[in-house]
């Protein structure tokens, strides 16, 4: 079938009218240009922030899964370079992802947007100090900092602020040994945090801790020295999407053994249901596909403290189905999925979960 399209020729406006419209545009641009130019980067920054950061840090930077970026004492303690580099490099294994695709201009506009919450006031860092002694700094760190920042600066085992559940601290201490942190924080930034502390958080000032200027120099030297420590290599991701076992028995005895295995692994049996239950008319479900739901609530509570995003694994479920004459018992592979989280603490829990699933499935299919 042929399509006929008629296009109405555009009317040419008289030259005087074209000039008039153009002149008006020039006048308006001349009048508003600086404002447009000034507003645009912040608008881009707002858009990028809302796209990439707001879910964790909050739409106005009040924190959540991520730290509260709007906290005036935080903003005062870090320069724009720190913020730009933090966005660029992220924090390996600490949820905050890197953003290698953002341009320098995009990073600057995001920082400009973040700075708005503190009235666009620039950071005021304390002086550079003198070269310190890292060995003495290590001793001071163990006495004054390790309780919150962990031995050797590994950070609290969780992130963000307390919004959704009780935690041991209202805000989690950052990992000072993290390559992303050390690449972002200059010595003056580290020194400023130590000297001033961060008001509104448990981080005290050096004065409150009874530290001298020399002590502070030693602490800064120690924290800087952490970048020389070899970082653990990221283990290669192994395994398929599932942990799968093949049962030597039929469906019913396999499910019975699976229920026993779940309870023997100290997991509470929540429910057993057909895979398509709730999607088809009751009574019409496929009886050869069953899900066994279970939970270890203590483990779950720990996992949620480490990373509230862990819910994508929940609840613990093991699927049993008949396929081409075999009874398969399977679960998701937590080790494989843990790579989605950029959270080393959660990866350790996922390893533990992997072994529990594997043991339960082995027990059910033995």
């Amino acid at each position: 079938m042929a399509l006929s399209v008629s296009i109405k020729p555009r009317e040419r406006k008289p030259a005087s009218r074209r000039l008039g419209a153009g002149s008006a545009f020039v006048v308006v641009f001349w009048a508003l240009g600086p404002q447009i130019a000034a507003a645009r980067p912040a608008t881009i920054g707002a858009r990028l922030y809302n796209r990439d950061c707001a879910a964790c840090h909050g739409e106005r930077g009040r924190g959540g899964i991520g730290l509260p970026l709007s906290l005036p004492s935080f903003q005062q303690n870090v320069d724009n370079r720190y913020l730009r580099r933090t966005i660029r490099y992220g924090r390996r294994g600490r949820i905050m992802p890197p953003s290698p695709r953002l341009s320098g201009a995009q990073l600057r506009s995001m920082v400009r947007y973040i700075r708005r919450w503190a009235g666009n006031r620039p950071a005021t860092l304390v002086g550079a100090g003198k070269p310190g002694n890292p060995a003495r700094g290590a001793v001071l760190f163990a006495a004054h900092c390790a309780l919150c920042h962990g031995a050797a600066g590994v950070g609290a085992p969780s992130t963000g602020v307390t919004l959704s559940r009780p935690r041991s601290q209202p805000i989690m201490a950052p990992a000072l040994d993290n390559p992303g942190y050390l690449a972002s924080a200059s010595d003056p930034v580290i020194r400023t945090a130590v000297v001033r502390g961060v008001a509104g958080t448990p981080m005290p000032s050096s004065r409150r801790e009874g530290l001298t200027a020399k002590n502070v120099d030693d602490l800064v030297a120690y924290i800087r020295s952490l970048q020389n420590r070899p970082q653990p290599a990221t283990p290669p991701v192994r395994g398929g999407p599932d942990i799968v076992g093949v049962s030597p028995d039929g469906l019913a005895p396999t499910i019975a053994r699976l229920k026993d295995a779940v309870q023997a692994a100290n997991m509470r049996l929540i429910r057993v249901q057909y895979l398509d239950q709730g999607f088809v008319t009751p009574g019409m479900e496929n009886k050869h596909q069953v899900i066994v739901y279970s939970c270890d609530f203590g483990f779950l509570n720990t996992a949620l403290q480490v990373d509230p995003r862990v819910g994508v694994f929940l609840p613990c479920r093991i699927t049993v189905l008949q396929h081409r004459g075999k009874v398969l018992v399977m679960s998701v592979n937590p080790k494989r999925l843990s790579t989605l989280f950029n959270n080393a603490a959660l990866s350790r829990l996922c390893d533990e979960m992997y072994h529990r699933y594997r043991d339960v499935i082995e027990e059910a299919t033995f």
């Binding site: 990439d52 909050g58 709730g278 699927t319 396929h323």
Partner: protein, 153 residues
């Protein structure tokens, strides 16, 4: 026809993979609504996108019953009935990832919604026949997230 769908699915996944970086493999959004309202919006958006909701797992209730304190934390399970029937026959291993789910939890006056990106899970399942489904889910969960976020503004 099926081959065309597969190619379309692969292309769509490629486009999604090139989309701006998020927390790799996870989709997370903050909704400017208290939890109960956000939950209603989420369920409406899932249904509007053509899915059936099978049930809601109240994780916070289980935690509370076992002596732990938490804000509302729930999981909505949903799928298309035809896919629930057909896909495990194509590849039984996908059954462990069905039905689809979205986690929803409260953070003070806001609510967060979260799921694994189907485009990412697709990389774990090389079967061509599954790719159009993953591509469609990837589009749909993004549409659901957009709708819920918009409802909060």
């Amino acid at each position: 026809m099926r081959r065309g769908q597969t190619i379309l699915g692969v292309l769509l996944l490629a486009v999604l993979a090139l989309a701006p970086a998020r927390a790799a493999g996870l989709l997370l959004a903050r909704v400017d609504l208290p939890f109960p309202e956000a939950m209603v919006q989420l369920q409406d958006s899932i249904v509007h996108q053509g899915y059936t909701i099978a049930r809601v797992q109240r994780v916070n209730a289980g935690l509370k019953a076992n002596g732990y304190t938490t804000a509302p934390y729930q999981i909505v399970f949903f799928a298309k009935p035809a896919e629930m029937r057909a896909l495990p026959a194509l590849d039984p291993q996908i059954a462990a990832y069905l039905p689809l789910s979205i986690v929803i939890f409260a953070e003070r006056h806001h609510t967060l919604i979260l799921t694994t990106d189907p485009a990412e899970i697709a990389t774990l399942f090389p079967q061509r026949a599954l790719q159009p489904h993953f591509a469609e889910w990837a589009q749909d969960v993004r549409a659901i997230f957009r709708a819920v976020r918009r409802s909060g503004r």
